[in-house]
């Protein structure tokens, strides 16, 4: 079972990368309204059912993968 952890910076003050991408896109006439750049972590959990995989992933995310002061996260189950 694979779980994806999507992590995004909380507010735009922090997202210098997102802003840089926005301005590159603008310079090349590929504007978007907003671009946010964060992290994607894929956890291969082995033989767990969906529920236990999600709960273990949540534990891991909160243990170390994200910093609540500056980031928010979301989990997803990855279908093969």
């Amino acid at each position: 079972m694979k779980i994806g952890v999507k992590i995004l910076p909380k507010n735009e003050v922090l997202d210098t990368q997102g802003r840089a991408v926005e301005s590159t896109l603008k310079a090349h006439k590929k504007d978007v309204y907003q671009c946010r750049v964060g992290k994607y972590v894929q956890l291969e959990m082995g033989d767990l059912d969906e529920k236990s995989a999600l709960s273990k992933a949540k534990e891991i995310a909160e243990f170390v993968l994200y910093n609540p002061l500056i980031e928010s996260y979301e989990l997803e189950v990855i279908k093969q």
């Binding site: 910076p9 922090l14 210098t16 243990f63 910093n67 002061l69 500056i70």
Partner: protein, 216 residues
């Protein structure tokens, strides 16, 4: 007998030997503390978490190191009022470990910056009893931009917890913050590197102001 200063080494820490030398230079006794071990704070007069890419700065600077077993002892020492200093990556680790408020995020221009900067000490701490009006130290970081939510920033100023500010902001730090301290002023974090400014031949010796505060 000279007082022992504990220097914490994580996997990947790369300013460890420099801090070791700086402590020896002011005639104190540096001693390694390995990230997997724990220790009794009583044997030490202070602790330093050196700078430099623990765990490659992977995931988030300081995040992986903050979970190491040695941090339990650092927490304990901090709680008991021992002086604890985090330099650069050490500062990031202290923030990630919850020992200091705020976070250090990527520089505004997204590039690593190596440069000498001028700093203004804003308050006295256990690490700056002899501080002057302005000190000059080198910075070397890619993620040194201090961030805290607005209300928390106000609390920092109100609580006299802003330790040092940049005279000219190099990295986009909120309110020019270069270093902060905890409420008790024994735990301090600083982005610039005092250990790289210990002798005239290094280009300046203002780093002594900070290291020598351990001499009491």
């Amino acid at each position: 007998m000279k007082a022992k200063v504990g220097i914490v080494r994580f996997l990947g820490t790369n300013c460890d030997r420099d801090v070791y030398q700086a402590v020896a230079d002011i005639d104190l006794r540096p001693e390694w503390l390995w990230f997997e071990d724990q220790f009794d704070p009583k044997e030490f007069s202070g602790f330093i978490l050196p700078g430099g890419f623990s765990y490659g700065d992977y995931l988030r600077c300081g995040a992986l190191a903050a979970k190491a077993p040695v941090m339990k002892s650092i927490h304990e020492a901090a709680g008991k009022g021992y002086p604890v200093l985090g330099i650069c990556n050490g500062f990031q680790i202290l923030c990630e470990a919850g020992l200091l408020p705020g976070a250090l995020v990527r520089n505004e221009k997204r590039k690593f910056i190596d440069r000498w900067v001028e700093l203004k000490p804003e308050t006295q701490t256990k690490w700056s009893s002899k501080a002057r009006a302005v000190i000059r130290l080198p910075i070397a970081h890619g993620e040194g931009r201090y961030y805290a939510e607005e209300a928390d920033l106000q609390k920092l100023w109100d609580g006299d917890q802003v330790w040092m500010t940049y005279r000219e902001n190099p990295n986009g730090s909120l309110q020019n913050i270069a270093g902060v301290t905890n409420k008790n002023k024994n735990v301090c974090g600083l982005m610039p590197h005092p250990e790289r400014a210990m002798h005239e031949w290094m280009g300046g010796s203002d780093g002594r102001v900070i290291m020598e505060s351990l001499l009491g």
